[in-house]
């Protein structure tokens, strides 16, 4: 992840070529061959750029490793590239592919205005970390006249404040602790590593959803409505449910443009076609995060868990009837959370041995619980507690006295002022980067 002035030309190239290809696909009308040609041309350009910048070294490295394994390694050294990943590339490439696919399927018309297509690609709140917006949602918004609306400013501001809380108070606070523990995992006790890994799940959620809140709030201030990317994922009751709530813009993109076409193509395989679709889709989701085997394994784990859920659905339903719904649901939420925590150990490890070291450390390392200072632990727990309380309130539609949506304007203003003051008191202001910037 890096910003270079030259990389502006890459974005411009992507915008111009896809804009023209979109129009050509539409012009091809009933000429299937021509339409397919332009679709493939767009995929070649978009995926070619993505592979070149993001996956080249990974592919070449693995190819040379394989050749070495079968004793075919040549005297030539692997042609690795020393290039930085343009910031936000994975997001706007996927968004553009989605647009071309929609035009190809005829579900939207090709955009005729290059400035509006450019804005669709480059709209600044979503450029760096999404959401991966859909053309049919966003392009019509660009055509509307935008006027000053104080409600948009206020609601956008509130969303930004909440995003800042998640990022600065929750995510960056945990990040300091988690980094310290994981860097020295060999010397930390099992309890410490476990606590750190559990907190990391909250960190990733707070970091990414915090950014999304800031992006959505900023867009709202300008009168735009970006798609929601999270729906309280840490309250998911199973992994399928989790992926309907987590990074929704990516998971729904993969669902629409990879999973559904694959299942349709393999419909004669029956349930195996669905499993095949799941495996491919989640490997794509995994590798979308980065060019490394840990991301492939992360995706594979999710697919296996969802296949397991699909095959044991009836049995689990039978069990649920024998247990109180409150206990069943809470145990389901807990097990889902633990599975996601386990997956994130693989997600955050740069090598397989690093992941196994963390897991081994949890079970084998003895010693005292390290939590820096009691205040560090307190800050982390308060942050996570408040974030989860808000999610629980929304999830279960718990009504009652509310400070932030109070009918009294004064109470509402004081509440938001106090939220900002608490961010000043408990936030981390040392420039912690967003985790998903790296993807």
């Amino acid at each position: 992840m890096y910003v270079k002035v030259e990389y502006v030309f890459i974005i411009l190239f992507i915008i111009i070529t896809n804009y023209l290809i979109g129009i050509q696909i539409e012009k091809a009308n009933n000429n299937k061959k021509r339409r397919a040609f332009y679709l493939n041309l767009s995929l070649l350009i978009n995926l070619g750029i993505l592979i070149f910048f993001k996956y080249w070294n990974f592919l070449i490295g693995n190819l040379f490793d394989f050749l070495g394994l079968i004793h075919l390694k040549s005297a030539v050294s692997a042609p690795f590239l020393d290039i930085a990943l343009p910031i936000g590339l994975s997001y706007y490439i996927f968004q553009t592919i989605g647009y071309i696919m929609d035009v190809y399927r005829g579900s939207i018309q090709a955009e005729k205005s290059i400035s509006q297509f450019g804005l669709f690609t480059l709209f600044f709140p979503k450029l760096l970390v999404g959401p991966i917006e859909r053309a049919n949602r966003f392009l019509p918004q660009l055509k509307k006249n935008i006027y000053f609306d104080q409600e948009n400013i206020i609601e956008g501001g509130k969303r930004i404040a909440w995003g800042l809380f998640k990022k600065l108070v929750v995510a960056d606070r945990i990040a300091i602790y988690h980094t310290t523990v994981i860097v020295s995992a060999d010397h930390q006790s099992g309890g410490t590593i476990l606590l750190s890994c559990l907190l990391y799940t909250f960190q990733v959620y707070a970091d990414f959803s915090g950014y999304t809140d800031i992006a959505l709030g900023t867009a709202r201030m300008f009168g735009f409505d970006l798609m929601e990317n999270f729906k309280r994922p840490l309250l998911a009751r199973n992994i399928s449910d989790f992926w309907r709530r987590w990074h929704i813009s990516l998971s729904s993109w993969v669902n629409d443009y990879i999973f559904n076409p694959l299942v349709l193509k393999r419909r004669d395989w029956g349930i195996w076609g669905v499993f095949y679709g799941l495996l491919v889709s989640f490997i794509v989701i995994g590798i979308w995060h980065g060019a490394a085997w840990n991301y492939v394994l992360f995706g594979l784990l999710q697919a296996i868990a969802i296949i397991y859920e699909a095959t044991t659905k009836k049995a689990r339903k039978r069990i649920s009837k024998k247990i109180s719904p409150v206990i069943y649901n809470n145990v389901s939420i807990l097990l889902t959370f633990l599975f996601i925590t386990f997956s994130l150990i693989i997600f955050q490890s740069s090598t397989f041995s690093e992941a196994t070291n963390i897991i081994k450390g949890i079970f084998l390392n003895s010693g005292e619980l390290y939590y820096d200072k009691p205040s560090t632990l307190l800050f982390m727990l308060i942050g996570c507690g408040v974030m989860m309380m808000v999610d629980i309130k929304v999830e279960y539609r718990i009504s009652g006295y509310s400070l932030f949506s109070n009918k009294s304007w004064v109470i509402q203003q004081i509440s938001y002022a106090l939220l900002l003051i608490y961010i000043l008191i408990a936030g981390v202001f040392d420039g912690g980067q967003f985790i998903y910037f790296a993807f």
Partner: protein, 333 residues
């Protein structure tokens, strides 16, 4: 509805008025809470934050110990006082580096000139490590009252002086520590004598000795320059400076780059340099350690005596009548 129509309908002026009111509320809250935190911060008479205030504003000790956690937990001032017959204060603070040490040194020089200073130096101290700059935040509460710290605080970020417009910001992340510091909690725990600065560690490390190979890394020129300034100002003020590296329960293979540089600087400046990082005595005794980087109280007692022995040796081998020499007491073996 267009912007002009909104203005005509008086919706925009009302919105601006509300926004100004909200901003005003924020400023009032920031001012009130910030000043309350400031009052409570400086009212503390024990604990970590108090020790920094004491180091900067109050200590008059003749021998000062500077450094990070290894300084704070390894050098017991009572032992130094007893054997060197002088007043000693340990200014070491966990997680801080030469930036903090130099800041404390500057504030001390504004008030008085200590006779002797010991700087505890860490392996990889000169490594580029962004967190080291974040730790400068421990000096933020003193920004208003200590102009000599401004240049060091600016290293944290060029926007620091703007951030410091907020009254709460200097006390960011400190609220619980400040509240605890205003209770009796710190005074009643673990034999910590805040008047001496030293914080003993009690637990015992039960792991095997680990080996670490020296690797190359990027050097932070700021840190090197601050060390050179500290040496230069010590010399110009007639302070006898010692640089020492604490023992760790890590066997180093090869010479660490920072150690190599500090050794060279010390030699060039004629500063006594004691390197205990490869002292095999400590590698045989895990019971001297609280973790692989820190000695516990038992280890600190032994180590403090070893440092004193080195100082005495050094004094005996240099000018006998130096005005900064202590009246020496030989260690009881």
């Amino acid at each position: 509805m267009t912007l002009i129509e909104k203005i005509k309908e008086k919706k925009l002026p009302a919105f601006i008025a509300k926004a100004i009111l909200f901003l005003f509320l924020l400023i009032i809250l920031d001012f009130t809470i910030g000043n309350t935190l400031r009052y409570l911060y400086f009212k503390q008479d024990s604990g970590l934050l108090y020790r920094t205030t004491y180091s900067l504003d109050s200590t008059k000790a003749e021998l000062l110990i500077f450094g990070s956690s290894t300084a704070n937990h390894h050098y017991n001032p009572s032992i130094f006082e007893k054997r060197l017959n002088t007043s000693v204060y340990n200014t070491g603070r966990d997680g801080n580096t030469i930036f903090y040490n130099y800041a404390v040194f500057q504030s001390v020089l504004k008030r008085y000139i200590p006779k002797v200073a010991i700087l505890d130096f860490n392996v990889e101290e000169f490594k580029v490590y962004p967190d080291n700059y974040d730790r400068i935040s421990s000096l933020l509460p003193y920004y208003q009252t200590h102009p000599e710290l401004h240049s060091i605080i600016q290293l944290k970020s060029p926007y620091e002086k703007y951030k410091l417009l907020s009254k709460i910001y200097p006390y960011n992340s400190l609220i619980f520590t400040i509240l605890v510091g205003n209770t009796d909690f710190n005074r009643t725990r673990d034999n910590i004598n805040d008047d001496k600065g030293y914080v003993p560690l009690s637990h015992v490390w039960h792991r095997e000795l680990t080996t670490q190979t020296a690797v190359s890394y990027q050097l932070d020129s700021n840190k090197i320059n601050f060390l050179k300034s500290l040496i230069g100002e010590s010399k110009s003020n007639g302070i006898r400076l010692y640089i020492s590296i604490s023992p760790r329960f890590i066997k180093y293979e090869g010479e660490d780059l920072s150690v190599e540089i500090v050794r060279k600087i010390a030699n060039e400046s004629n500063i006594p340099f004691f390197d205990f990082s490869k002292d095999t005595l400590f590698w045989k005794h895990n019971e001297y350690f609280a973790d692989r980087s820190h000695l516990n109280n038992t280890g600190a007692t032994i180590f403090s005596n070893m440092v004193i022995d080195k100082i005495i040796q050094n004094q005996q081998s240099t000018l006998i009548n130096n005005k900064n020499n202590f009246s020496l007491k030989t260690r009881k073996k």
